[in-house]
């Protein structure tokens, strides 16, 4: 057996402590050890963005992060996005404007869009499209996703 790595981390503000295999990815730990299955694993090579999470404030693909690397760091996932029963404005606008179809890419898009709006509350559509270029959707054709993000941004600026 490979020597496991002891990891102490926070996920969505909650403290977690676990043992990870040395080569185990963060997305694997989130889904299988911590049972936070909102984060999806698509390509496992960093191309699709479905596994996007925020690691110490930085948007990353959790398939390209070893769980061992997150010791002492904070992770934000889709499970931390809503405030109880109150959906985040991005989540609500994705629902209202049909920004999703099958839903597999949606947690990644929501997390990526959240990272965008925290950095730039008033993006142009072009800026939003470039920022979201690392998230692939095979259903929607992107237009409704981008509209949802722009509508949420406008709503959040007015809030």
């Amino acid at each position: 057996m490979a020597k496991k790595v002891h990891v102490t981390t926070t996920v969505n503000g909650d403290d977690y402590e676990y043992l990870a295999e040395p080569g185990q990815t963060l997305v694997d730990v989130l889904r299988n050890n911590l049972e936070l299955t909102g984060t999806k694993e698509g390509c496992s090579t960093g191309d699709c963005g479905a596994c996007s999470v925020i690691l110490d404030g930085e948007l990353v693909c959790s398939c390209l992060v070893l769980a061992a690397e997150t010791d002492g760091k904070s992770v934000e996932t889709i499970e931390g996005m809503a405030d109880g029963d109150n959906l985040h404005p991005l989540q609500r606008n994705f629902l209202d404007l049909n920004g999703l179809q099958c839903g597999i890419c949606t947690p990644g898009f929501l997390i990526a869009a959240k990272a965008l709006l925290e950095r730039n509350p008033d993006p142009t559509e072009t800026e939003a499209r470039f920022w979201l270029a690392g998230n692939l959707c095979r259903c929607t054709g992107y237009d409704k996703i981008v509209r949802s993000v722009m509508a949420a941004a406008e709503e959040m600026r007015g809030a």
């Binding site: 020597k3 790595v5 960093g46 930085e58 948007l59 990353v60 398939c63 390209l64 070893l66 690392g134």
Partner: protein
């Protein structure tokens, strides 16, 4: 699979010791290449050496106009640094083209260089900038111009146990400008058919007194094309000089044909992209 270990040393000595022992050590910086290779079993290391807890690798600092960029500093941290962006816009253009936001949140220029892809976007830009790689290893430390690091696809001149600590960028001269441009089939998230980095310095009369031109994706390694630079030095970077530069760039190309472009297309467009990059670098040099 062998029994993999994960280590995150906090000192350069610790990293060199781990990498020197037994030959099975693999450096982990941003992981955007290495973790894909690990999980597809292209590599089977004994130990993954995460270098991001070593302060020198994460340093991004300026001293008298000269910048030091730690080899593991993420792309987003580099392009978000306004002062570095002002000093080296061309380097930032290269870094900004590495993958998605998610990938740039992790990927570093040390990793982009040491992965040794012929098409790495930051590499022609940092070669053109005249950056020096600061290397440590079992034999001590040494410095090497960046153009001497990549020796072939996936191959570097680093000896076993060596790692790049940081890159030193020279203080930018007055009337200098740099630029990196690439050509891809798609607007975003693609691999370069051609990339070109140009760094120019003018005198007060607008005559080019120094130039470095580097091209990527058109040979087994990124190239520093001295003949192309020499075609601009001593000129006002007029059309005749640019034509000569373009010819020198095309003469240096030795590309493959693949699904992104044929050999002939790459050679042709290398000249086009190098000319555009030179004109943008010239515009920046005139504005400085």
């Amino acid at each position: 699979m062998t029994e993999l270990r994960y280590e995150a040393p906090e000192s350069l000595d610790g990293a060199v010791t781990l990498l020197s022992g037994g030959g099975g050590g693999k450096i982990l910086a941003g992981g955007t290449d290495v973790l894909v290779q690990l999980h597809t079993e292209m590599i089977e290391p004994d130990v993954i050496v995460d270098i991001k807890n070593i302060p020198e690798l994460k340093r991004l600092s300026e001293d008298g106009g000269a910048w030091t960029v730690g080899a593991a500093v993420s792309g987003m941290n580099i392009i978000d640094n306004d002062a570095f962006q002002t000093a080296w816009p061309g380097v930032c253009e290269g870094v900004a083209l590495i993958g998605s936001i998610q990938v740039k949140g992790r990927a570093s220029i040390g990793g982009n260089l040491c992965n040794a892809s012929p098409a790495a976007d930051s590499v022609p830009a940092i070669i053109a900038a005249g950056a020096i790689a600061n290397i440590v290893g079992p034999g001590g430390s040494r410095e090497e111009p960046v153009e001497n690091i990549v020796t072939g696809p996936g191959q570097t001149s680093l000896a076993q146990g060596e790692l790049i600590v940081s890159f030193s960028f020279p203080a930018k001269q007055a009337n200098s400008g740099d630029c990196y441009l690439r050509l891809t089939p798609r607007t975003e998230m693609d691999i370069a058919i051609v990339g070109a980095g140009v760094n120019l310095t003018l005198d007060d009369d607008g005559t080019c007194i120094a130039a470095r031109i580097s091209i990527g994706a058109v040979a087994p390694t990124p190239l520093l094309v001295e003949d192309a630079a020499n075609a601009l030095i001593g000129t006002k970077v007029n059309d005749a000089a640019l034509d000569a530069m373009v010819e020198a760039v095309r003469a240096a190309c030795n590309p493959i044909s693949d699904k992104r472009g044929t050999r002939e297309y790459r050679i042709k467009t290398a000249g086009v992209i190098a000319r555009r990059a030179a004109l943008k670098a010239l515009e920046r040099a005139q504005a400085n």
